[in-house]
């Protein structure tokens, strides 16, 4: 791949940042606070969201993939790995889609992403326990995902503004 080592190392740091965010958010906002099991703030998506705009689809895919693998390697079980993978990639797909349709801002993309994330996880759960009963969790999760999506975008917006956008034409 013809990416510079500078880029690769930055993506590495961002992956680490995403990992750190996902671990520490449970320390400050333990999942016991949330009514539905498996509901989280999803702060790591700040990294995903910013990375989509700053670096594009492929690097973000790598970041998400490596983040899931690392969580799995650091003492996760197979089911949660499948979960984060399903949720992460479905959300990534929809975020990229929404971004392509240029009318949406960070907020729209983020809400779409978190909704897709939850849908992906619930679908995998239904598959895993072979029961559609899990779907009953989805409405609540979707409502919460609107809130968390907006929150993530709100946290990402200032960072984006500060770091800046790439101009068309690749100006430096």
């Amino acid at each position: 791949m013809r990416y510079s080592i500078y880029d690769l190392s930055r993506w590495g740091v961002l992956t680490a940042l995403a990992l750190a965010l996902s671990v520490t958010e449970t320390l400050f906002f333990p999942s016991a606070l949330f009514p539905v099991p498996g509901m989280r703030l999803g702060l790591a998506n700040i990294v995903t969201l910013l990375s989509i705009y700053l670096f594009g689809a492929v690097p973000t895919m790598l970041i998400v993939l490596i983040r899931c693998l690392a969580t799995f390697a650091f003492g996760g079980n197979l089911t949660s790995f499948l979960f984060s993978l399903a949720g992460g990639f479905l959300s990534l797909f929809f975020m990229l889609l929404l971004r392509k349709l240029r009318v949406f801002s960070l907020f729209g993309v983020s809400v779409g992403g978190s909704a897709a994330h939850n849908i992906g996880q619930i679908l995998i759960a239904c598959l895993l326990v072979r029961s559609w009963a899990i779907l009953s969790y989805l409405p609540v999760l979707l409502l919460v995902s609107i809130v968390t999506g907006l929150l993530i975008a709100a946290l990402s917006a200032p960072v984006y503004k500060a770091v800046g956008a790439i101009r068309p034409g690749g100006d430096s």
């Binding site: 949406f104 729209g108 029961s131 779907l135 009953s136 989805l138 979707l142 101009r167 034409g169 690749g170």
Partner: protein, 167 residues
């Protein structure tokens, strides 16, 4: 470059064409189209609620009762009627050194304890609504409240009900 513009930071470098493709000026302010997304998700949630309500309603006939059903890996292992329970009933599932205990009382059921790591199933607490579930994903155990109609398994007729089968 004017001083008002935020300076871009050089990121992906190699091919000019790629740089063009990657150049996205993001809107970082909430705009009206985002409201569409929010609305869409809201509608989706609402639709799901309606759909689930309908399916629950369909399975709820005039004279029916609720049952708690426990399935492991998709196979039903325990079923108990939640009406007419004068006292709590428990059921334990074990295997591979793991253990999960469910408890059923009149009108509700819950996962009482589990040796799983995340304890999400236990933290789900009591479930009582039809279609509600408590799930232990690592153990592939689902505790579900079913609505059972008269025809299905009504234990009123001596000829069609039993406590156990000798085989």
């Amino acid at each position: 470059m004017t001083t008002n513009d935020p300076s871009p930071i050089r990121t992906v470098t190699p091919r000019r064409a790629d740089a063009d493709k990657l150049a996205y000026r993001a809107h970082y302010r909430f705009c009206r189209w985002d409201a569409v997304v929010v609305l869409f998700v809201l509608l989706l949630a609402g639709g799901l609620v309606f759909g689930l309500y309908l399916s629950a309603k369909n399975s709820l006939s005039a004279s029916s009762h609720k049952e708690a059903v426990l399935t492991v890996d998709g196979t039903e292992v325990w079923r108990v009627s939640l009406s007419g329970l004068t006292a709590a009933k428990e059921y334990t599932v074990t295997g591979n050194g793991e253990k999960l205990v469910v408890q059923a009382e009149s009108g509700k059921a819950r996962v009482l304890s589990s040796t799983c790591r995340d304890q999400i199933c236990v933290r789900s607490g009591w479930i009582s609504g039809i279609g509600q579930t408590a799930v232990c994903l690592p153990y592939r155990v689902v505790l579900r409240i079913d609505a059972v109609g008269n025809g299905a398994a009504a234990p009123s007729d001596t000829n069609t009900s039993y406590d156990v089968i000798s085989k």
